[in-house]
């Protein structure tokens, strides 16, 4: 039952959602809405389980005196700091919690993301070399797009933003559509395997 229970729940829930799409305005839709609501509740529990697991992993790192345990301390202090400060306020929209969010998490997260520019600059300098015809095409496309998306591109020539738009509209769209269709077919196949119980990775190795 430990193995088959989750598979049966998954099969029934999945079939309800799929079948309901073909029977508009029937009891199947009511059932689908109920299943969807349960999925949201399960999602909320998943956040709780994930949080507990995250804390457990980092507490273990600290207790075992691992080399990089300082970062685990930072994570736990941040996690419980926000939790203990936020819980008595009743909601994350409370002005004091919002102030902490705006003055700590927002600038720190934005800084982390902004730091990527240095890695991208360094990587672009090293990677975009005219080694092969394909690499040259990639290099030219990158340069046109980088110029076309900023004001300076238009100052150099009206042709640059036009070429940049063409690259996004045609070669990029064609490539992305291929990737999307391929990924969608893969998703359908995987969903089918999950539904009939062949794919069991999501059950945490049971069975």
């Amino acid at each position: 039952m430990r193995r088959n229970g989750p598979i049966i729940v998954g099969l029934i829930s999945g079939l309800v959602v799929i079948v309901a799409n073909f029977f508009v305005g029937t009891v199947m839709q009511t059932l689908r809405n109920e299943v969807t609501q349960w999925q949201l509740i399960a999602g909320a529990f998943a956040v709780l389980v994930g949080s507990i697991n995250l804390c457990r992993i980092h507490m273990t790192k600290i207790s075992r005196k691992k080399e990089d345990r300082f970062f685990s301390w930072v994570l736990l202090v941040g996690f419980f700091g926000f939790l203990l400060f936020g819980l008595p306020k009743g909601s994350s929209s409370h002005p004091q919690f919002q102030w902490v969010f705006k003055t700590s998490l927002e600038p720190m997260s934005a800084t982390m993301f902004a730091l990527l520019v240095f890695y991208i600059a360094s990587a672009a300098y090293r990677a975009f070399r005219v080694k092969t015809p394909e690499a040259t095409v990639l290099l030219l496309a990158a340069v046109i797009l980088m110029l076309g998306k900023v004001s300076v591109g238009r100052m150099i020539s009206e042709w640059i933003p036009q070429a940049s738009s063409w690259l996004l509209d045609y070669p990029n769209t064609a490539g992305m559509r291929g990737i999307t269709i391929g990924a969608a077919l893969g998703a359908v196949a995987t969903a089918f395997r999950v539904l009939i119980g062949i794919e069991r990775g999501h059950l945490g190795g049971i069975g």
């Binding site: 809405n33 929209s93 934005a110 360094s122 300098y125 738009s165 769209t173 992305m176």
Partner: protein, 278 residues
Amino acid sequence: MSFWEKMERLDRRVIYVLLIAAVAFALIKPVGLAITISKETQATYDLFDGLPPGSIVWIGCEYGASNITELQPILTCVLRQGLAKDLRFITGGMWAQAGNLAESAWEDVSADFPDKQYGIDFVNVGYRPGGERLLPALVADAHEALMGRDNRGTSLDDLPLMQEFKSLTDAAAILVLVSGTPGEKEYIRLVTDQHGIPIVAGAVSVSVPEAMPLLNSGQLKGLVMGMAGAAEYEVLIGKPGSAVAGMDAQSFAHVLIILFIVLGNLGHIALGKHKKKA
């Protein structure tokens, strides 16, 4: 080591220092490079401009605080444009920081619209867990999907705007601000294509190539592309802000990176490495 060898193997710290200098210079002393409105940003603006007063717009804040530089200006711009036109907004999302980011935007914008009130013109329902399954739940019964409360903990029954919003299909248009998954594709697949609701997106620059097929197919009615798009929107609503200020820095940074690429390649060619098979 020859000059070209140096150019070909430039220390990454040199790149970092010059990049900091270029960005800092542009931010401290902006040169005010001209900003031209793209057709994609204009289409987004036109969609909201064409909605009748009183229309409800759902804004999906599907991003995290790390993307505020590019996406937060889009959110504040659309709120400013819409509130000036008497549109009403409900914000929420599948990303954990959706509630706080929407609250930040409302704080920034509401001071300029003293006649607009929370609960009547704007409601922030915040983050709800469950990933993309939130969307069909919002379509089926928004109040149930939101567990009957907004992000401030107020009962939805006490908010006049929410009395007119029982389902996501009550929205006249949807704006989704995206930096990954779940994002605009989920909205299109689960909501807008099925129910014929016009949708526009604001995307971080790296997500733009992924959104382009949806724009070209007409599934997205408009697309605001990263900080450049945000700057265009600020120009359109006549209130230049952080995105316009950041565009000079972005221009300088791009030009500098291209210079490095050119120098690296000149070194590569001068040393004859391009003749060797990769």
